[in-house]
Assembly symmetry: D3
Homo-oligomer: 292 residues x 6
């Protein structure tokens, strides 16, 4: 019995967090190992379900980088990368969409549904959720940047108590092309979070978070500090676009952006329901009253 | 971090229970030590809040035996008991109501509200919730039995996301007397649970549950078994009316009646969210499909 | 038949008043002889019912001064008064609450319900309706002044076509004390009327109204005139706090405050549905277009 | 003041009636002197307004016999009557409709509106409210009997808190003729009352009610008694169709049919809100529990 | 089959118009030959039905000039015209109303209903839709100008999926006279269109539209141009009040006013669903973005 | 102008069909040339849009046979067919889903959206819309038959005025496999139509319809006739499963099943809005009153 009482007390430790977040929207950029490792995948599904049951409205945005590459390989299509972006010709774009919308998206949807949830997988093309134009068609082909977010469809899905799972493909803003555009999943998540007035956006990565020069995790950053660390080169490489997506969300009104380590078991719940900060949180300046 | 992960896993252990009970009504007969001991009181408040946050609709019915006696003592009013019932003359009735509706009821309401909840304390007189007639006016005076339960007001309070706290005082069914009647709190709870089509009724007592001849707790009883144990004298004394109230609820359609030990920390949560059965559960026959 | 036709004509005389007040909120501070005399009590119940049936939303706020004193006497607890306020220690506070919430409140609720209405009795503690801090704890103990009025619960009760009956007990604004505070019923009524944007507040007293130096009732006063009469001493003694509560309501946006003679039969209806002004009305300055 | 108190008491005498009828539908067949005499007209408007304000849903059906005749005279169109029915050729039908829909109907609507009500005048042609076929075209021409009542439009008008005023003109059930049919107003009222599940239908006449052989008013009749009096010839002449319309309504489920004397001031209110029965009430057999 | 495919293509040509107008309000001033010729009448009914089925909310306002004159003739009542207005004494007013509300209004209602629609005929007196004062009582008698449009009743009728048909009779704004006033139907339509925030107002006339000096139809005019043409005398005679009503509507916020030739088959549909402009459209200046 | 008037008359010819189908659900099994030929594709999009604008609720179910085969070829994956079913191993299943959910589904969605519609593409996995078990895993692998249709999500999408586009992939009913099953699109359409209580199901094929022995199209068949033609071999080959899907829908309550020639321009509109029957309609026995 004693052990059970301990358990119940732990449940109660989550009470203040449950109260704080009831009714709020959290956007989760799902990716990395947490999307590959079967144990981590099952844990993510459980985490999302618990969040929904205690009243948080969860929105999943996913990428699918590895799967795209391995599939292109199978088809002997080679990818060139310019400025870190995959040059995406029409043939590649078709594969990108099939992998994201037809494979990864449905896999996540099924994962959640088989754990007892009720997920609905869409892409940014559905109900014109994401409208984009090419960044530089000559240079990158069908790589787009978002011009318009029609977020009503996501709100309706949430209102129906369904969990939206979103593939980062956008329609052509000018309806010239029906192929659509490949969108960076981090920025898609960030734009959707802004349009939904989300409370939090959580980026699941394969890093422990933003680290200082001594390789210690920096647990909290405000916009100025993040900017400074970018300038000084402490934030570098692949962390830069993550931090940029975080900052974009904050500037757009999201209260907190989190870069968490998806390799840690139940990392999302740890961040959400315990005093244990996992990874790095980026937030605005301290004027904000309503804490998060 | 390891400890935190353990915590999160414990949270997830509650997931199936949270799913099972979401949207259901639980009636809690609050009483005994859990109503007196300050630590237990605070724990009950937390338990109720957590239940509400994860989607259970909680209804509190309370007694107030000890406080009534001590207050009657202060006023030098002596109580006679016949067949275990307090003979209640008009003067006593006035005190009974003041203690129940004006002291105990508001104390519980304030307890919940000060823990962050939103409770509304009423008595069975409000909106004619409980209408009664005297059991035997000559013998017991203003001790009533319920004739009518107008449960709409409780549903409305629940719909408003408030926690109803109910004092077991009833109006006169014939509007002859404005004094009203003193109602046994266990049976008031049972009647209200039936009228609300509650999923569970939980009686908080100062006993470990129903015990067999060897003083071991009987964890599960169906109606026939309970009846048999009453006949054979295994269930005796003060446990008889508790078991009767349990059986009445089950016969009226409540899925499960629980007699739990309110002296155990977080006994309600233990019963609701863990595999640990505390005390005794009484249920109908096994035909029922939808488990509880 | 002639007599009946006369009756019907009288009914029709009320037509313009019924039209004017349909859908408006009236707060009635119930007190004095009208709360004690059995005939007056029955008449008040009838008056309230009629008002509700013709579309006025009635809110009752009550005191209970006499009953508190007599009950304290029974318990041999002596009251000291400082500046007209009962010095309220913890023991006294407990009795005050029991009498107000557990006796007077339920008596009024039952009175209305037995006349065919549907009343719901609450105190300021319920759903945190009234939050207060002590005026001067050292001097007066648990005598509070209102800091916050959470009037939503009253609106919800009105929306459900129930008549709210409110005892003037407040919760501690800082959740330090669970005892709560004793609030002056006139000011509780005034604050609730403001928060509800009531059209009228009616104070039932045992006086004919505000009187001039020649002992004639002053039928109408605006804020300036009331202020002037206070300065000149024409308004004095026990009438001062009544007039202050009236003025507070007007300043807070209530259209008219009435001090009426509760000893007159059906005084509320007389005031509401006939051209006969009973007692004194206090109102703002004449700029107001929508008459009352 | 004393007089005013008397007035208020009279108001309260209406309380049980107001409670009884709140939310019920009353159909009033408006006609006779009450439709001609300016004082009676104003009183009818007041009566209807009061009924609406205390929660009765009033539906007016009117005839216009006298006006039709006088207008036909002006145009030198002669009317023949067969079996008490005006033989209605196309030219006559056009005039009948103009007088009923374009004159009488709008006069009543304006009368109510100028007394502060909100009336909407329609005919049975609007939204296909009344669909009819000729009784015997060869014999009577455009005199119709109702085949279908599409009462939804009346319910919608009532839901909008408007008072429907209905001219007894029906559309052709087979859409052959656009002229429509002249319908007996008493039976139109009766059919509409049945379709609306009205509580009462009130026929305003220029008679004191049904009289026995000694010229005394019979205050109450059940269906069998009414039938018997018709057979015995006590009910005769112009009273027969009135009584028939009453009986039709009762058989169709209306609780009570009243034949009242519209020449009496405020006859409708007398009947509705006082213990004074005016005229004759016809009802079903005494099994009915819910009194009217 | 080929012919049918052509038909379907024509259906699709209407697609952009259907999309553009879905949910918008169109006010149609019905009059002229289209109100007299049986074939044109049937076509108007079909046109209105189709418009309603594809989502346009149609409001009909009608006059009835010819019928009024012919009816006055029958009664040997002579009309004098001053400044183009019929001098309307009380006797004439009564006939005007009977013809408009009791004959023309119901004829249109029946016409639509017999084609499968659901029309509800009212006059400006109903629910106080139009409130007016005399233009110059001494000179013109009961000829009014609109002071107040209570358009709620029309919105409610539209919400119920009914087609409102409105006779241009107004109540007296001061409730002095129950006769009401005769209102110019063009201006009644214009005022109602403004109050409803209609997208279009369409005047059905017996002219091809506004014509220039060479007798060619001017297909488009803005406010300035219309004003100029009036000054220069190109717009003259009976066309002036039509153009004035058009301009009034535009100034009040209606997007486009149309003067169309009601003698052309299906003129309304031609104007609404094809690229063929029939008659003249008057609109504001070109700043307007949302085309019509 | 004459031509335009002809056009408008054609529009009006559609009036009875628009009235008949307003608010009804049509399921369209989209496939064959109409899914490949760019001109036909655009026409289908227009047809669907028009149907939606005039009040029909359209649901699209699609297959994608050709694209699946060509994609499997690119990957050098060979397909074996047993009993006309593609033997679907895990690798093939992954490709099938990617092509259907990630390519064809989004292509149709985009097609409709770029024509001005608002489509939402999902698969049977989303919100557990289609739950299946393998037909015979040993023989056919991941080819499933539907066990459960959770059609609520489709109703919600329709309620939001979105056009659902559904890929025929089902979840595993027992949650054993996350791969899901490949479902025959015709039967998926049929099951969805039944669950939605659709009025019509329309199968777009590359045949003129069901043909008799003389190669003439049979325009109408009832269930018995269809059964007989199957037995006699007149219906044979690839037409058998189409007719079976048609009959299944009819037996499940759909009013009419259509096999139409998708190669004909605007075939859907022809069938829906003209008297021209295209292809074959299969219906139940003639008892049905409400025609379709």
């Amino acid at each position: 019995m004693k052990k059970k009482i301990e358990q119940v007390k732990i449940l109660l430790d989550a009470l203040p967090y449950i109260k704080k977040y009831a009714g709020d929207i959290f956007v989760i950029k799902y990716g990395g190992s947490a999307q590959i490792d079967p144990i981590l995948k099952a844990q993510v599904a459980e985490d999302i379900l618990l969040m929904q049951l205690v009243g948080i409205k969860v929105v999943i945005v996913h990428g699918g980088g590895n799967k795209i590459s391995s599939f292109l390989n199978k088809l002997h299509i080679k990818s060139t990368f310019v400025d870190g972006l995959r040059v995406t010709d029409a043939e590649t774009m078709e594969i990108v969409e099939m992998v994201l919308s037809g494979n990864v998206n449905k896999e996540i949807t099924t994962l959640i549904n088989q754990h007892g949830g009720n997920a609905l997988g869409i892409s940014g093309k559905d109900a014109n959720l994401l409208m984009a134009t090419p960044i530089d068609f000559e240079k990158y082909g069908y790589v787009g940047e978002i011009r318009l977010v029609n977020v009503e469809v996501v709100k309706k899905i949430l209102d129906e108590k369904l969990i939206p799972v979103i593939a980062p493909i956008a329609s052509d803003n000018g309806t010239n092309s029906s192929l659509g555009y490949n969108i960076n999943a981090d920025f898609a998540a960030s734009q959707i979070a802004i349009a939904l007035k989300a409370r939090k956006i959580i980026f699941m990565t394969d890093t422990p978070g933003v680290m200082d020069n001594s390789k210690n995790i920096i647990s909290t950053l405000n916009l100025q500090e993040a900017e400074a660390l970018k300038k000084s080169g402490v934030i570098s490489g692949g962390m830069i676009p993550k931090v940029d997506a975080c900052m974009e969300a904050i500037k757009g009104g999201v209260l907190k952006s989190h870069i968490i380590d998806g390799r840690v078991e139940h990392a999302i719940l740890l961040e959400t329901f315990t005093s244990e900060g996992v990874g790095t949180v980026i937030k605005g300046i301290s004027k904000i009253k309503k804490g998060a």
